[in-house]
């Protein structure tokens, strides 16, 4: 859908702009990632509010994670998470084999070092969503081969 193209372009532009500003100023890469993550955090909080207005209360953490993998991911990225793994002790791994924000970039190992920049916003998105559902979390991302990511 056209909305997606618009969001994709805006997101890529945001990443480019923040890094451009950092190059000119004294900020290092770490700060840009933090800024992107906090933007994602705010957006995630807002989005999760709108999505869960009418849904029933969640039973437990696993239920919430399943919601994130199915409904939340579908409304944001038009597909579900491909794989969810957990160690039942608070660590969850969400795997997306065709991550929307990376598909346009490459299909393999090219540009791998730039991938984390594009995942920062989405990490914030998830953290914001979880925080508004009452879960404090740390979200990290890992890319071994585009466009799949964990």
């Amino acid at each position: 859908m056209a909305d997606e193209a618009l969001f994709l372009l805006l997101h890529n532009e945001m990443v480019a702009e923040l890094y451009r500003a950092a190059e000119q100023g004294e900020g290092e890469n770490g700060r840009c990632t933090t800024k992107l993550e906090s933007m994602g955090f705010r957006v995630g909080q807002g989005l999760i509010e709108r999505f869960t207005k009418d849904t029933a209360r969640f039973k437990d953490e696993l239920d919430i994670m399943k919601f994130i993998c199915k409904d939340f991911w579908t409304s944001v990225f038009k597909k579900q998470i491909d794989n969810l793994r957990t160690n039942h002790q608070g660590i969850y791994v969400l795997q997306d084999n065709k991550f929307r924000l990376l598909t346009q970039m490459s299909a393999g190992k090219q540009y791998l070092e730039h991938a984390p920049k594009y995942l920062a916003f989405t990490c914030g998105l998830i953290r914001g969503g979880l925080s508004n559902l009452g879960i404090k979390s740390i979200v990290t991302a890992e890319v071994s081969s585009m466009p799949a990511c964990k």
Binding site: F7, L10, E17, M39, V43, L47, S75, F121
Partner: protein, 166 residues
């Protein structure tokens, strides 16, 4: 998923306001980002809409209002021509989806053009089809005007000037 875009845009403006103290700087930044998005968006637009070549400025403006705005933002602004020479147009938006979640501008940001990204996008897209234009906000609902009005002024193309001289 338009909500995602609108919310992300809001977070972006908020972040820029934190980074830059002056409103003009934020406006410039938004315009520049919009421009970069516009030059890419035009490809996506042309691929999705398969419109034919526009033969006049007026046709181009209609295309922007009725097809592009509808496709990406879901609203159709009214078009009005505001100059006898036929190169100045206005897009009048009664409803601006980008400000759906914004109630009002904070007092210290009175001259912030919240939707300046749009101007950059239009300018960039037009430039990619070889039409130079100046795009600015003439009226802004967030600043108290009745509607939001975007003004597009088509500038003379370089080739026209050459012909005139000969």
């Amino acid at each position: 998923s338009r909500e995602l875009f609108v919310l992300t845009y809001g977070a972006l403006v908020a972040q820029l306001c934190k980074d830059y103290e002056k409103d003009e700087d934020v406006n410039t930044c938004l315009d520049r980002m919009g421009y970069a998005i516009g030059i890419r968006l035009i490809d996506d637009f042309l691929a999705r809409s398969a419109v034919k070549r526009c033969r006049s400025y007026s046709e181009t403006t209609d295309m922007i209002a009725q097809v592009a705005f509808k496709m990406y933002l879901g609203v159709t602004p009214r078009v009005s021509c505001s100059s006898a020479a036929g190169n100045e147009f206005s897009l009048i938006l009664d409803k601006n989806p980008l400000v759906d979640f914004v109630e009002e501008l904070p007092a210290e940001r009175a001259s912030l053009c919240y939707c300046n990204l749009l101007c950059g996008v239009i300018r960039g897209a037009l430039e990619m089809v070889h039409l130079a234009a100046e795009v600015t906000f003439l009226q802004d609902r967030l600043k108290g005007d009745a509607v939001t009005e975007i003004g597009i002024t088509f500038l003379r193309k370089a080739e026209d000037r050459k012909y005139k001289r000969n």
